[in-house]
Symmetry: D2
Subunit: 357 residues, 4 copies
């Protein structure tokens, strides 16, 4: 039952990469919310493969069909369900992985978990394709959040060892948010694009892949939101963000870097701004203290591992014959998933945030 | 309702630092499990203040009283409830923080969340003292897990910029686990103790504090455990570990470091060991692929921020008078919480793990 | 978020009567379970309208399409999703109810709950049509339960003031279960059919409707299953069964009748049967004591109110003009929903039972 | 984990009848709510044994100690925890039931569920004594609800075959609510007291017991509250009320009686009252349509079975020797639990209601 998220707005994700369809049910949305489907499609296109050179050239017809919950583009209050039929699938590319699990991929653990009955084609339910559902849900939810003054943006913080400019932790402009929300290779400093693409090109030529870090900001979040202990901002966001395949780490505010610092450096001093609002001079706390929002932006970074599917030959095992084997993954794979992960992580943040309100 | 964790074994934590008592209810433990209370006390002593120079000299009588769920030291199947009465409290030390919230602490956000009705003395429900409940629950649960072959250990990975030896990611010896489980300043390489203590001494003398990283390993976990998407190992563990105050980041396996690497470096090759068991040569995945255990140790690191309560003077605000203020936190505070966090993070891991079985 | 049920096997229901489609996602089914879709269709046909004179003559093409979770008729472990497209809908029939809420129906409360944004056509998300999803889920789950020795059957206990023979509370034959599972007018004593149909005919002619009681039995349930207090058999089953529209009461074993009796009459004496199994001579407890299964059949009865949609003229209100109004509901409605409710209540029981195992 | 209830306000109940203590943790209460502990004690005294001739003469010192969550009688927002130490226990009275399970009691099923490790003394965690926790929680919550205009009352609807006057379904006076809330033998028509007590006296003399029905009303509930399907008023209330031991049935509004009626009789006609509020002329729907509140009082009746512990000799089994046995339950038992169940069912309703707001 791991494919359901949330206590207030429940997101139920279904589908397998090469099955009939994938989709999502969102239960608990407020009624009366107008949803701009063109904007939803725009967000989905940011995640879709085939749109950027860093990504797989494989195309998806990721147009979701709304089955319920919307009437004349307005939420009815009933569960909002959407389905995306699978079309452009080439099962033959994956024929060998049932025997030889890809190192670093869920092939082997899914095989164990489901006793070999899982649909291995394209990764089945574990496929990155399932994140299209998250982006759909996130795109719907973000429109509702925006109406309440809450905006979310993410960017490519790093690929390999090359970095974009980080977000200003105490807040970024709405123009920057809007620009990033429209980009497929989202950078704070567009002049870094060439250098970051070079990291991807270098590995793609060798049939290898490269990881990176996505930084995400949630602005306009009301203060005083969240629960102590296990219901805090960090708990809820991390349990959504680790739902994005390939994410292996998350840090809030100064995060791991802050753990190397002193209290006198890491503590964020409070002050009243010119409007009488309480703010902090720095944002090492990343927007949450004791799990509860301070009114400063929620700021986190997610570590995305390099795509496990590479054509470089690797050692693995043959699960049927029970001996060692060699594997060179064929098919169309992303040399770097970070680009596409940007919109998925924004979506995960949105799904988490609406469950805290 | 953030103080309740778990779907299978529910941990319900209560208490305020200077209230009558703190305690915990654990609902869903298997019946018929013998609990060695001396071992529970031993684990609680590792977290207790006053036992190590890095920690506050304040003493706690952290002896929990069992209210239900145990009969002749054996679990009955009914909720196991324990209470720890608060005794050695000096409320006067905290008299000023109602007005002047400590930078980096939850004083301000708790004030917002509870409209000023929260018990501010000693941090109230947000106090680190509440983690005694987690260690109690963890110590009980770890005995049950150990009977099923699952062992948990953590150590001080770093303080400031000084490091212990890391765990061998593919597994550590049971002797090392046992040794670490008995130590208050838990290190893989005891020869590093002097250097790590020097980091703490340096800040203590200045009334400052320092952060660090705790590394934790879960060994003997059966393979094929966990759920896809939002119910994965990383999701469940992170949502428990972020329940430990001061944790601001978590990474599994190679984590953030892995995000700077290539697939050919980060992928863990599978092989059959001499007993015919599937293993990986390296453990960059940290024991979980697609959220599901591979049979390799679960390995994670948690970033612990420097203690916010420092006597160094800081800028803050006066919430009553609504202007700026200066604060120098008095009272007995930890210059470095990392030492004591080791056993709390082990406990959080235990609480998460039992909810995945 | 009321349209999601379960902690172990999560059932997420979506759809609106006159929207694009209805459907259900079932997350948490065991993998490797063969599902006989013909049997699923057979169960769905029992609920479908247009198949029996007691029901509405309106036809539905209730053929669910499987979107994920099944591969070659075997569960993969991924969420099982099914969708039923809406076809035969005549929205015109319902044009007036937005203003004039039907007495006894959810028109008015749905209007309040969703601020008038809910899809009122055909009852929207509150339509009895949504129970097709439950029967689908139940039919899948019942095949899995049956493989574990657990069988479920229900019958028309009463319509109006006419009664079928009740179930023998200590157990019924597998033949009877099988026969009932195949019937659209399910009776223990088929000779009662004429009398029971006469109750329906009497009200149909007048444009009125009639209620009844459905009795349901779950046999083969292992003993020792369930949780104390809020997780008991009665709690879980009732929270599923009240999800069936029109159910307004539930009783287990001797239920309300037992509340008029003495302990010496109502207590069920234990004995060892010829195979050394513990049983009770009577089954006034309905299979659960302290919320936990005794090994005797789970037996309950659900009170089904008369269908609120009647053509008899009633007083209601005009929500737009804010004055009184008269209403005579047009369209094709069931004079008695009890017949069709039989398979829905079996399904609700199945959904509850699999969440207790 | 069945001893935890609620999604918004979590009630975690612990304790065993003859253990050290029983208690409850309430997580999620609003902060800043003044709690009158004298009123809490008054409610607890209504449930306490030894206060009425229909009940066991055994006395309890049911004075709860508040451990956290209250400061100067005002909720702090932290979990509210209370503990009641067990004092007046005579374990000797129950020495025989480990072998010979009481017919109609949870002795046997608890033995199965917990593999014989459960504390059998006094029923352990299944003891009616645990309901003191519910009354405590309910009494706290009812004060919070009352401040929001929501009042709850219950009365003895029937004992055996003798009836009190039923509640007027469309609403009762605040005076009647207040009077009933103060009574230990709560009747709408006090002149019925003698006849109802006679029912109890008749069985007590014979060492037998008698069941009854409790009727409960929730007034002032806002309209438009609740969720469709599985999150409806009936689902939530029934899953709380079946947490009260001995409850074997529940019906809302006209309930089972309504199932014998016609739509034209059972439908509740809407009208605008003199203040322009929508009401229904009758309240056969019991305050909820489609699971959502209509603004009319929530009205339900719970069937309470006769106390299983009777001194009349019964057949049972010897679980050790595995043969039949005779049992005559000794000790101080209630001949009729209905009297005391009134306040427990009010409490269960309160716990359910606050989770719907």
């Amino acid at each position: 039952m791991g494919s359901v998220f949330g206590n207030k707005v429940k997101i139920s994700v279904f589908g397998e990469s090469h099955g009939t369809a994938i989709g999502v049910v969102i239960d608990g949305l407020p009624s009366g919310e107008r949803i701009d489907m063109e904007e939803v499609y725009r967000q989905m296109a940011r995640r879709a493969p085939g749109n950027d050179k860093t990504a797989t050239p494989r195309k998806e017809a990721d147009k979701p069909e709304i089955l319920s919950g919307l009437l004349d583009s307005v939420t009815t209050g009933a569960p909002l369900a959407a389905v995306i039929y699978n079309t452009n699938t080439r099962s033959g590319d994956y024929g060998n992985i049932m025997n030889a699990p890809r190192p670093g991929h869920s092939d082997y653990t899914a095989y164990l978990r489901y006793g070999g009955f899982n649909d291995v084609r394209g990764g089945g339910h574990f496929s990155g394709r399932l994140t299209a559902n998250m982006v759909f849900a996130g795109a719907v939810i973000r429109q509702i959040l925006k109406r309440r003054g809450i905006e979310i943006a993410a960017h490519i913080y790093s690929i390999g060892n090359t970095y974009d400019e980080p977000f200003e932790p105490t807040g970024i402009s709405s123009q920057l948010i809007e620009r990033l929300n429209g980009e497929k290779f989202a950078l704070v400093d567009p002049s870094k694009e060439e250098a970051l693409r070079a990291e991807v090109d270098a590995v793609r030529k060798k049939g290898d892949s490269i990881g990176g870090i996505v930084e995400c900001i949630v602005q306009g979040m009301p203060s005083g939101v969240g629960e102590p202990m296990f219901g805090g901002v960090e708990n809820v966001i991390s349990s959504a963000v680790f739902g994005v395949p390939a994410v292996k780490g998350i840090e809030f505010g100064s995060g791991f870097s802050g753990s190397h610092s002193k209290g006198s450096e890491n503590n964020d001093e409070f002050y009243y701004d010119e409007n009488g609002n309480v703010r902090t001079r720095t944002n090492n706390h990343g927007g949450a203290l004791g799990g509860i929002t301070s009114g400063m932006p929620i700021l986190f970074r997610a570590a995305v591992k390099p795509t496990p599917s590479i054509s470089v030959e690797q050692n693995t095992i043959d699960l049927q014959e029970k001996h060692g084997a060699k594997l060179s993954v064929k098919g169309r794979h992303d040399p770097c998933i970070v680009t596409r992960a940007v919109s998925v992580i924004e979506a995960a943040a949105a799904i988490a945030v609406i469950n805290m309100l």
